[in-house]
């Protein structure tokens, strides 16, 4: 430990939801001024523990004690914990897209004089706060025009405004690219220098190894161990051992690719931005996929990979201008999502909460939601087949849930992702587009999902893999295309690709497609 006095002690926290014990007897101690990481598999109870701490689950809904700054505290809501200097930044950002940065930072405690908001002072303070988090955008910019990385910084600026003493970050870098993540991590380290204690949940173990002072590992709702990073010489493998209870031999399952002929081809694909016709989000893109092949798409955030994927998937993004899709030698039409699905295309969205799932659904309803036709006779959905299908995929993907009648909101992130995968596997696509399929997913589950992806490929399907994690792209892909500003800039075989060669093509306009 960094040796500071204890700022927080959580003692024997137990939290039950109807039917699940999310936390049982969890204890942890955080020293003032340290960066304390919490690691654990999906569904281990990390987010729940932090929600208990920050008053999202108010006093009385859990048992155990929270001792903060040497006092037992009973938060009845997030307002009270914030007043005490504990600020939580949830993984789903809580900013209002239509409001400006300033308005968001001051939302709820606007500086005012006689009840009239003092915009001048707000603006000035916002500028200062933004400077502290290293964001040099105009404070009048609307949130919706910022990328996730910058939004994350605004969240932190907002926390700073609330004079945060203990900052809780739930998977802050899950949706960020490498350089944004680095910036954020440096910022957290910088805050530590100014006396802010941070608790950080992350599945990116390299980042934890880099910044954390102490790591608490949680498994199945129980504290397993607390590691002192500097003192104990902790590395990623050590963390994984704590998380899953055994060592992982390798990060990627073994696979011998069995690649067939080209069966899916995109030619001269041009798509306009939906609101700004002068901007092309896909510029003359050409690529092919072979049977049984995993094709990676590398690019920086905003390079246009998701835009490409969604425009192929039933023109669900942007305004289609021109281009052709050839499948099995024949041109196919994808004017609607239904048509794309009928033509054997599946798309697993990067944003599972906003685009991948109806959060009101149960697991079984979600599983069949894209393939209803398969279990329908005369317009009537068979509830027995629905149940059987959902149950089959639950066993196959080892989704952790008490039953398929469970609501999907009750699942942890990784298990929700498995439900989304099941939903698309059930449509039995020939070409499956996976957009950031392992975002927010623990190492063990990642390994399983990689296995599923490889298994789908070995069945002769074509897989298009979009990922911001280069190791993942390099570890899985048979071939990688790089995209820069809506253009395919390069095509690399598995042998040619390495982080350096990819980075060069991801950041340059030079086109070098064979």
């Amino acid at each position: 430990m960094t040796g500071g006095p204890t700022i927080l002690e959580m003692r024997s926290i137990t939290k039950e939801f109807p039917g699940v014990k999310a936390l049982s007897d969890v204890s942890m101690t955080v020293a003032a001024g340290e960066i304390h990481a919490i690691c654990g598999e999906n569904g281990a109870g990390k987010s729940t523990l932090m929600k208990v701490l920050s008053g999202v689950y108010p006093y009385g809904t859990y048992s155990g004690d929270i001792v903060y700054q040497s006092q037992v505290v009973h938060f009845s809501g997030i307002k009270q914990s914030e007043a005490a200097g504990i600020v939580i930044i949830h993984q789903e950002l809580a900013l209002i897209p239509e409001l400006s940065i300033t308005e968001n930072i001051f939302l709820g405690n606007e500086p005012s004089r006689f009840g009239v908001i003092d915009w001048e002072s707000a603006h000035r303070q916002a500028t200062e706060l933004l400077a502290r988090v290293g964001l040099n955008d105009d404070p009048d910019t609307k949130i919706k025009s910022l990328g996730v990385g910058k939004q994350q910084l605004v969240e932190i600026a907002k926390a700073l405004h609330k004079s945060v003493k203990l900052l809780i970050l739930d998977e802050p870098t899950a949706a960020l690219n490498e350089s944004e993540s680095q910036h954020l991590l440096e910022l957290i380290v910088g805050l530590k220098g100014k006396g802010v204690t941070s608790i950080m949940i992350s599945h990116k173990l390299n980042e934890i190894e880099q910044v954390a002072d102490t790591i608490t590992i949680i498994r199945d709702g129980k504290t397993i161990e607390t590691l002192d990073v500097k003192g104990d010489g902790v590395d990623e493998d050590r963390i994984i051992r704590g998380m899953v209870g055994r060592s992982l031999e390798s990060r990627f399952p073994e696979r011998t690719p069995n690649i067939g002929e080209v069966f899916f081809e995109v030619r001269d694909w041009n798509v306009q931005h939906p609101l700004d016709p002068s901007r092309m989000v896909c510029k003359n893109e050409n690529f092919v996929v072979r049977r049984g092949e995993i094709v990676g798409f590398a690019g920086l955030m905003g390079a246009g990979r998701t835009e490409l994927a969604m425009s192929l998937f039933g023109h669900s993004y942007g305004t289609y201008v021109s281009g052709e899709i050839i499948k099995d030698g024949k041109p196919i039409k994808v004017n609607s999502v239904a048509q794309a699905i009928a033509n054997g295309i599946g798309y697993v969205s990067e944003d599972r909460k906003a685009l991948g799932l109806n959060l009101l659904d149960t697991i079984k309803r979600a599983t069949v939601s894209a393939g209803l036709a398969k279990i329908t006779t005369n317009g009537v959905v068979s509830s027995v087949k629905e149940y059987e299908t959902a149950e089959r995929y639950r066993t196959m993907l080892r989704t952790k849930a008490s039953s398929v009648n469970e609501g999907v909101t009750k699942l942890s992130g990784g298990n929700q992702q498995k439900v989304v995968l099941a939903k698309w596997m059930f449509t039995d696509p020939d070409i499956l587009i996976l957009d950031e399929p392992t975002r927010g997913i623990d190492v063990g589950a990642k390994f399983e999902i990689y296995g599923i992806i490889q298994e789908l490929a070995s069945q002769g399907k074509g897989i298009i893999l979009i990922s911001s994690e280069l190791p993942e792209l390099l570890g899985l892909s048979d071939r990688i295309y790089t995209i820069f500003e809506g253009q395919i800039t390069n095509e690399l075989t598995a042998e040619e690709a390495n982080p350096e060669s990819l980075m060069v093509s991801m950041t340059s306009k030079r086109t070098n497609v064979r």
Partner: protein
């Protein structure tokens, strides 16, 4: 508590236990206060007088689940009512044809509103606010702002009863027969539900839970049958109750088991995710609005039959009754949650409340105030519990009894269902900044 959940939770049984308690409470309170509420004549009267709320609630819950609202139902009902009345009085159309004409007008009006909502993407609030004016104006223009009586033969559908047959036991025989059929259907359903659970590999509920549930449901049925069958001579099960029953069964079936039903809840729950799963959200929105106007036309025709004439003020304020029924019945303001059964029970709550208040002789203006407050409190409670991450009104009342099939308390924690852009088509920039 656990055992009550076993009886009423999941498994194809009733899921609106809390609402039923509220309904029973209202009935009991007024029964004690007046001694008249459970009088057969009064119960029959409630159905005759307020059937329009229940018919409208069926359509409205679908509209609200899809994330819209329909403010035009009262005007549409009045518009169809006057045309149907005219067609019989002036053009001498036989009444069955007049009904077909009314339905056709309902379809046309619905297609008109659905077009604006689904394809031009004008918010339903605005489209139907315009519709409220347009069709009210239409009613008054066609009817010259005066009441137009309808022929006796036509009034059956609103004020008529099942004709009696067979030997006279002092009860209405057809009503007894229907009661018997319902009981048999309930039993068969329960047995089949158990069989389905076994086929799905789930452990069937304990036999006693099924038995108790059946006893309760059949008991209610038998009692209702008794009430309807033992009214004044010449009365029995009202025809509107049969129309209503058919509509409830039909629409419950549609929303619960068909692909369209799935698509409806998908669009309401997360329209973007629905579109990306291949759902044609425009078609869903179009059909939902169309369907609402068709049901409004049925409500209008029934009401004209009940009151014997079509007038210029018919249907004023109906939209509010229907919307209130749906929200009291557990639908979520943000869409995606709500059931036909819940809304019917919500409608009955409002109907018995209004009836009870008039029985105790409450001033009509006060009745309005009280009904307004009931709606406000019900929805405020719903919103409040969502903010607090607790289940909704119904969820609150039933949280110890049932596990919601729709996962109504999904708002715990994130609440993102309400924060999502309504549709991919509406706001592409929100998706990818």
């Amino acid at each position: 508590m656990k055992s009550i959940r076993k009886i009423f939770g999941g498994g194809g049984g009733v899921n609106q236990f809390g609402m039923i308690i509220a309904l029973v409470a209202i009935i009991i309170v007024f029964q004690i206060a007046t001694g008249l509420t459970l009088n057969p004549t009064n119960v029959i009267n409630v159905f005759l007088q307020y059937s329009y709320i229940l018919i409208l609630a069926i359509g409205m819950v679908m509209v609200i689940v899809a994330g819209h609202i329909d403010l035009s139902v009262g005007s549409v009902a009045a518009f169809v009512g006057i045309i149907v009345a005219q067609s019989m009085a002036v053009w001498h159309l036989p009444w069955p044809l007049a009904i077909v004409l009314g339905l056709v007008i309902g379809v046309l009006v619905g297609a008109w509103q659905g077009f604006w909502v689904a394809y031009v993407r004008v918010p339903a609030f605005i489209v139907t606010l315009a519709g409220q004016l347009i069709f009210r104006g239409g009613n008054q223009y066609i009817g010259n702002s005066t009441a137009l009586p309808v022929p006796e033969s036509y009034t059956v559908i609103g004020a008529g009863f099942l004709p009696d047959f067979g030997p006279d036991f002092g009860y209405s025989n057809p009503t007894l027969l229907i009661g018997l059929i319902v009981v048999v259907v309930l039993i068969i359903r329960e047995i089949r539900a158990r069989a389905t659970r076994v086929r799905m590999g789930a452990e069937p509920q304990p036999v006693w839970a099924s038995v108790v549930r059946l006893i309760v449901l059949c008991g209610i049925t038998v009692y209702a049958t008794y009430l309807f069958a033992s009214g004044r001579a010449g009365t029995s099960l009202p025809i509107v109750a049969i129309i209503l029953g058919v509509l409830i069964i039909l629409y419950s079936f549609v929303t619960n088991t068909t692909v369209f039903g799935r698509h409806l809840y998908a669009v309401g729950g997360n329209s973007n995710a629905a579109v990306l799963s291949g759902v044609n959200s425009k078609r869903v929105n179009f059909f939902v609005m169309l369907n609402m106007s068709v049901l409004a036309s049925i409500a209008g025709m029934v009401f004209v039959a009940y009151s014997g004439s079509s007038g210029p003020a018919d249907g004023t304020g109906w939209e509010l009754d229907a919307i209130a029924a749906v929200f009291v019945g557990g639908a979520a303001v943000a869409g995606g949650i709500g059931t036909i059964t819940g809304s019917i029970i919500g409608g009955l709550v409002l109907a018995f409340l209004a009836n009870g208040l008039s029985l105790v002789g409450t001033d009509a203006n006060l009745v309005l105030i009280i009904r307004g407050l009931v709606l406000l409190i019900a929805v405020a409670f719903d919103v409040y519990s969502k903010v607090q991450g607790r289940p909704s009104v119904i969820g609150y009342l039933t949280r110890n009894f049932t596990r919601k099939s729709g996962g109504g308390d999904a708002s715990t924690g994130t609440g993102s269902a309400t924060e999502q852009p309504k549709s991919i088509d509406d706001s592409p920039q929100v998706l990818l900044p």
